[in-house]
């Protein structure tokens, strides 16, 4: 057994993981970060839009403050968020952005003078704010608050944080996948991990462990997420049987993912006047939303698109039905200057020139609001020495709908706070573990691998891991998508349960030796199906509509019965999560009207 010992072990080198690591290392602790990929390849680098913080420097952000940010966040969440967390977050975000500037992020700055917005409105940037950090507009906010660096916000924040990680000499073990949390029923003591270069197993022993493993978008067949976002931190926590996942049914969809690669086409295309067309080249949005047309809020547009395709107006393709995005009428000049990014994506990834051709799009999974449930300090429920932050966690800042730009801000702010709390905990604890216990967990993983590779003889069936994964993706896409109803959700739960049983009989097509990618997936898939079941079963039981969770059979928000958070536990040997509920903390703003949209569940995302 190869064993490595450290004070703080961080699983994940995205923004949340690296920010946490810096905080803990600054307290003088020994920190190791594990990651599937080199830090700068983490999913966080793909965020282009921006990071919310109430600085109030630009003309359209003037008068902004953390209280307005707080109000936007609570309404956006459809009153599903923890208001103490939201308050702490909004108060800390401005400092977080400024510290990133100090470390090197080249935030765009205020340039003084008169400007004309695309809609014709004139604004005036004041001299006294010149050179301070500026912001852009995002959905669901009262002020322009999203700080950004051109079209590469995630990239610059990740590169800057990683430069500080390098400067501080924090150890990063990349291509190292955590497979199991080591614990004694009371306390977490590290992980068992598999090296993705050689396939060798390692044990990491630590005083405290932080899950910063990102979202689980890849449970769905069509996701804007990076292909490594398979939610592994979430099922690692679930598999302790001690830790609950919060609100897993809260999944956010974006209207325009590019078919068939599901890369995000930003809202700018529709903002500048693009249309959505069906298979008959009919512009259908005005039929449903006569006032706002294509520019109704994202969840509404996504719902309308799915509805229209269900009626048979989708365009058939080898990759499933889709609709068209049409920007041809905006003209070559406009497309190649103002919409350059979108045009490049279309050319590079679909071989389509949007100047003369239609863009195939379909609503696409985008973000997971749910995750490993923690308290306001990031301490995970049910076990000591384990923390979580970023998209992997349910801290719970987002409730049932995340506002665009609040996720990048959450990774940094929660990294600061959780890093500090994890360090405090670590400084006050001893490294205690028994060889026996560590060995037990190590052997469980070894046995699993043996069963998958060598167990062909005694299995009744030989299931193909890729086939099962495709079925899981399809079930979620079909039955646990944007529109949900009791009948379909029940179908999904049944299908996923069957799939879960089948996943116990996975056999490999390859030898599975070394850093076999097939073995890697075979080890993850049962956990992924568990997460899929938490999503589907949580959605089935939640008989109301709130934020992104829309039930056709229960189209209203129901505060009397459902102002509560789902907590999903997984008892070993069961094939269904055990659901419990806890009240949502309301401290400042009681449930009310969100102030936008006529149907429940509206709000901006990024």
């Amino acid at each position: 057994m190869n064993t490595i010992v450290t004070d703080v072990l961080i699983i994940g080198a995205g923004l949340a993981g690296e920010r946490t690591a810096i905080e803990a290392a600054n307290q003088g602790l020994d920190v190791i970060i594990l990651s599937l990929v080199p830090p700068r390849r983490s999913h966080s680098t793909a965020a282009q839009g921006g990071m919310q913080a109430a600085l109030g420097n630009c003309a359209m952000g003037r008068g902004d403050n953390p209280s307005i940010h707080f109000e936007d966040t609570v309404k956006g969440s459809d009153w599903g968020c923890d208001q103490d967390v939201a308050r702490l977050f909004c108060e800390t975000a401005p400092t977080a952005v400024r510290q990133m500037a100090y470390w090197g992020v080249p935030w765009n700055r205020v340039a003084a003078g008169r400007k004309r917005l695309p809609g014709g409105q004139e604004i005036y940037e004041l001299k006294e704010y010149e050179g301070l950090i500026t912001a852009r507009n995002f959905g669901g906010t009262a002020k322009w608050r999203a700080c950004y660096t051109a079209d590469g916000t995630g990239h610059t924040i990740q590169y800057t944080l990683d430069s500080i990680v390098i400067k501080l000499g924090i150890k990063v073990h990349d291509r190292m996948e955590a497979l199991r949390l080591i614990h004694n029923g009371d306390k977490c003591m590290g992980v068992v991990a598999r090296c993705l270069r050689t396939g060798k197993l390692y044990t990491y022993i630590s005083k405290s462990t932080v899950l910063a493993t990102g979202g689980c978008g890849r449970l769905y067949g069509a996701s804007t997420n990076a292909v490594i976002n398979e939610g592994s931190g979430m099922f690692l926590a679930l598999e302790t049987e001690l830790v609950p996942l919060g609100n897993m049914e809260a999944i956010q969809f974006h209207p325009t993912g590019l078919v068939p690669v599901w890369i995000l086409i930003t809202e700018g295309a529709r903002g500048d006047g693009g249309y959505l067309l069906d298979k008959n080249h009919h512009r259908f949005m005005p039929d449903y939303e006569p006032k706002k047309k294509e520019l109704a809020s994202r969840d509404v547009v996504a719902r309308r698109m799915i509805m229209h395709m269900r009626k048979g107006y989708g365009v058939e393709s080898p990759y499933g039905p889709h609709l068209w995005l049409d920007i041809r009428h905006l003209g070559e000049k406009h497309i190649n200057t103002n919409l350059r990014e979108i045009a490049n994506i279309c050319r590079n990834f679909a071989g389509i020139d949007p100047v003369n051709e239609l863009i195939p799009v379909r609503p696409t999974q985008h973000y997971s609001m749910g995750g490993v449930r923690t308290n306001i300090n990031g301490a995970v429920y049910g076990i000591k020495g384990l923390f979580a932050c970023g998209e992997a966690a349910c801290w719970d800042l987002h409730g049932f709908n995340r506002l665009g730009g609040n996720s990048l801000a959450e990774t940094i702010v929660s990294g600061m706070i959780v890093g500090k709390k994890a360090a405090e905990y670590t400084l006050g604890t001893e490294l205690t573990y028994s060889y026996q216990q560590v060995n037990n967990h190590y052997n469980i993983v070894r046995q699993k691998i043996k069963n998958i590779i060598g167990g062909k003889l005694n299995k009744k069936r030989h299931e193909n891991v890729f086939e099962l994964k495709n079925i899981m993706e399809d079930v979620l896409m079909k039955h646990v998508g944007i529109f949900r109803n009791g009948k379909d959700l029940l179908k999904a739960v049944n299908a996923l349960q069957e799939l879960y049983h089948r996943s116990r009989n996975i056999s490999l097509r390859s030898s599975g030796t070394g850093a076999s990618p097939e073995l890697g997936l075979a080890l993850r898939l049962p956990g992924m199906i568990k997460l899929a079941l938490c999503v589907a079963y949580g959605a089935l039981k939640r008989t109301e509509s709130r934020g992104s969770h829309y039930r056709e059979d229960y189209p209203r928000r129901d505060d009397k019965n459902w102002l509560k958070r789902t907590l999903a536990y997984w008892p070993e040997e069961k094939d269904l999560p055990c659901l419990k509920y806890e009240p949502v903390k309301i401290t400042e703003i009681p449930p009310g009207d969100r102030g936008y949209g006529e149907s429940p569940g509206k709000g901006g995302t990024s």
Binding site: R98, P106, I133, G514
Partner: protein, 242 residues
């Protein structure tokens, strides 16, 4: 478009198995509309050979994971469409970098070493005051730094560089670009002389033969040669002084 039957000849080698020689393995595949090398390789892994190793993360030309030689040219595989290629496609791992297996190479470690060697972070004696407004900066300067930071560390420029292929200490276009990023940042208080040791040698700017392959191969279309000339000029000026 008529869909073709493609043949992908793929380099196979597992350095963890002693005694096994590298070889090329052909796979045939039906081309579909809008197919990229990303889609093609995943189909091969799912349906034909689940042992095949390759790296994709963002599959959107953002993260820099998927550099490989496509018919001999360093390319990001995720943004390479099969329709732009002939029916027979040869895929090889990027040279220069340590091979992990098949098409997977360790660009991550190479770039980490580069960052350590060049001190690629903002060097400043100031401390952060959480109660103060941010230091001001013109938007122009911010954009200039952003342009210099757009490299995604994919390694395509390094793999196609004649010097990097023979000198493993050569910083390459990506390395010099990184140095330029901190030179243009007013927050970095390093005097230019500090860069001199790393940059003004055969492993730095003066190792470059000026063949320009780096710029041709850069999937981000970065002005690598312009930045290189900028660093070279600065170093030459200091060279006169010391």
């Amino acid at each position: 478009m008529k869909n073709r039957e493609l043949t992908l000849n793929i380099f196979r080698y597992d350095p963890n198995i002693p005694g096994r020689e590298p070889y090329m393995q052909p796979y045939s595949l039906q081309e579909t509309e809008g197919m990229t090398i990303f889609i093609a390789l995943n189909q091969i892994r799912e349906n034909q050979d689940p042992s095949l190793k390759f790296d994709f993360v963002c599959r959107a030309a953002i993260c820099g994971s998927c550099g490989m030689l496509v018919n001999g040219r360093p390319r990001l595989a995720c943004k390479t469409l099969t329709r732009d290629l002939p029916e027979v496609i040869t895929l090889m791992p990027l040279p220069v970098f340590k091979l992990i297996g098949d098409l997977s190479v360790d660009t991550g470690s190479w770039f980490r070493q580069l960052s350590i060697k060049t001190g690629a972070w903002v060097h400043s004696d100031k401390s952060f005051n959480p109660n103060c407004q941010e230091e001001r900066m013109s938007n122009e300067t911010a954009l200039k730094i952003y342009e210099a930071e757009r490299c995604i560390e994919c390694g395509c420029c390094i793999a196609g560089c004649a010097t990097a292929n023979i000198r493993d200490d050569f910083l390459g276009a990506a390395g010099l670009y990184k140095i330029a990023r901190f030179m243009v940042d007013p927050r970095d208080e390093r005097p230019e002389e500090k860069y001199f040791d790393v940059v003004s040698s055969e492993e730095g700017v003066f190792g470059c033969l000026g063949l320009m392959a780096c710029e041709d191969n850069c999937p981000m279309e970065l002005p690598l040669q312009v930045q290189l000339a900028y660093v070279r000029r600065k170093m030459a000026l200091i060279g006169f002084r010391v």
